[in-house]
């Protein structure tokens, strides 16, 4: 009997996590990201809505342009101070890592990093969800300013 009850909660629990990635929830996360951009004078450019329930690593490519500063923000259900376990890494076209959102000395994951671009080209944005992360929904918004 215990086994069936456990199975029930596992199924319901799994479904509840998946349900978090509804368009409404993702819109709310997008708003959280945009709210990080605005005070610093960035204009919304692009959003990535990530559901990592099947793939723990998700990667996108994007052309960043010379002369622009880009801010990449992240938001999920947690408040910014508790944001954890989701590593963001930015690579250039030669796969050289430029920046990530992890601060090893504080053991903290930041909810924003920025990149001032001088070389137009394809850049790679990689998101890795640690196995301990149970919330698979994430929105990342890229803003820009000169």
């Amino acid at each position: 009997m215990k086994r069936y009850v456990l199975l029930f909660f596992l199924l319901i629990g799994g479904a509840a996590y998946a349900q978090q990635c509804t368009p409404e929830v993702m819109r709310e996360y997008t708003r959280k990201c945009v709210n990080q951009l605005r005070p610093r004078g960035y204009t919304f450019l692009k959003s990535y809505r990530i559901d990592a329930s099947s793939n723990k690593t998700v990667e996108y490519s994007y052309i960043f342009n010379r002369g622009q500063t880009y801010m990449i923000t992240f938001a999920n259900e947690s408040n910014p101070k508790e944001f954890s376990g989701i590593l963001f890494e930015l690579f250039d076209s030669s796969r050289r890592k430029l920046i990530d959102n992890y601060n090893p000395s504080l053991k903290q994951y930041r909810t924003a990093v920025a990149f001032r671009c001088s070389q137009t080209g394809i850049y790679h944005l990689k998101f890795t969800f640690e196995p301990s992360v149970k919330d698979y929904c994430l929105v990342s918004v890229v803003g820009f300013k000169r």
């Binding site: 069936y4 990635c21 951009l37 998700v58 996108y60 001088s118």
Partner: protein, 309 residues
């Protein structure tokens, strides 16, 4: 009894999972690219082309938003001139999905441009045009036009309007990819890109301080390579794309001598309280003659004419 409860539990779980189906449209990565169109009229070539297009979608996702070019146009000091934008009233004239999709892109760029200058009535006219074309394309379900109109009328910040418009466009692109209508997305992106390049060239032609615009126009070479590959893919799906593809190839030729060589070094710093990596120029070499510019502008005008006429 136990079986009964277990069945209810399973049904509940499946129901919850099924209700999450809408969220799948948001996922952009790690999806299979299976072709399940199943309509008999599709030729093998079209299916192969759709498959190839699906594989090339990373190229499409990498193409930058036109808002970067339009904001540069504004920063160059250019005054708002509605005459250089597309006429919103022409939306009803487009009878094919090919033209509708391209012009959704054009009007989206013009919408962002008009709103950037605070021309809200023009922005609303472009929203209406996008709505009409989207209805024709059967993609209007991806947009919340009432909310978009409210944002425009309330003079909401450009960020709010852009976030809503671009997020809707992105949801539409993801949805169309899943519906095996990726060719429509390519056309929307192409239309928006051509319009932004057209606006950039138009303003750069007479701008006093055009160095930044010229650099940005030169940099479009990277996006153009992606556009050419994608248009090549969709020729097999939509023969109407052939003329546009050929013009894009001509544009690629016109860009052949254009280059922006930049040597940089990266430095870590903190800006606005955010960890930032800064690429600092070591050397910059822009090869972009007036002749190159005129050639590019001339072809861009022809591409735009093919789209809007």
């Amino acid at each position: 009894m136990l079986k009964k409860y277990l069945s209810i539990a399973l049904l509940l779980s499946m129901g919850l999972l099924a209700s999450c189906g809408g969220g799948e449209a948001e996922q952009q990565e790690g999806e299979g690219n299976s072709q399940t169109n199943g309509t008999t009229e599709n030729t093998v070539n079209v299916e192969e082309a759709l498959q190839k297009l699906s594989n090339d979608f990373t190229l499409l996702r990498a193409i930058p938003s036109p808002i970067q070019m339009t904001s540069l146009v504004q920063e160059s000091g250019a005054k708002y001139d509605p005459a250089i934008l597309h006429d919103a009233n022409k939306a009803k004239n487009y009878g094919s999905d090919f033209k509708r999709a391209l012009n959704v892109g054009v009007y989206s760029t013009d919408l962002g441009f008009a709103h950037l200058y605070g021309k809200n009535q023009d922005a609303i006219d472009y929203l209406v045009a996008i709505r009409d074309l989207s209805t024709g394309l059967k993609v209007d379900s991806y947009f919340d036009f009432e909310r978009l109109k409210q944002l425009t009328e309330s003079n909401a910040s450009i960020d709010e309007l852009l976030a809503e418009t671009l997020t809707s466009l992105q949801t539409m692109k993801d949805g169309l990819e899943k519906e095996n209508r990726g060719d429509i997305t390519v056309l929307v992106v192409t239309g928006g890109w051509v319009e932004a390049l057209y606006l950039g060239c138009h303003v750069a032609e007479n701008a006093k301080n055009k160095q930044q615009l010229l650099e940005h126009i030169a940099d479009q070479k990277v996006s153009l390579d992606n556009i050419v590959k994608l248009l090549e893919d969709i020729q097999a799906i939509n023969p109407e794309a052939k003329a546009l593809y050929e013009k894009a190839k001509q544009l690629q030729d016109a860009y052949a001598n254009v280059s922006l060589k930049v040597e940089t070094i990266s430095k870590d710093t903190v800006i606005d309280g955010v960890p930032t990596v800064v690429q600092e120029d070591q050397s910059v070499e822009l090869n972009f003659t007036e002749q190159d510019f005129q050639k590019i502008y001339s072809i861009v005008k022809e591409m735009r004419r093919l789209i809007v006429e």
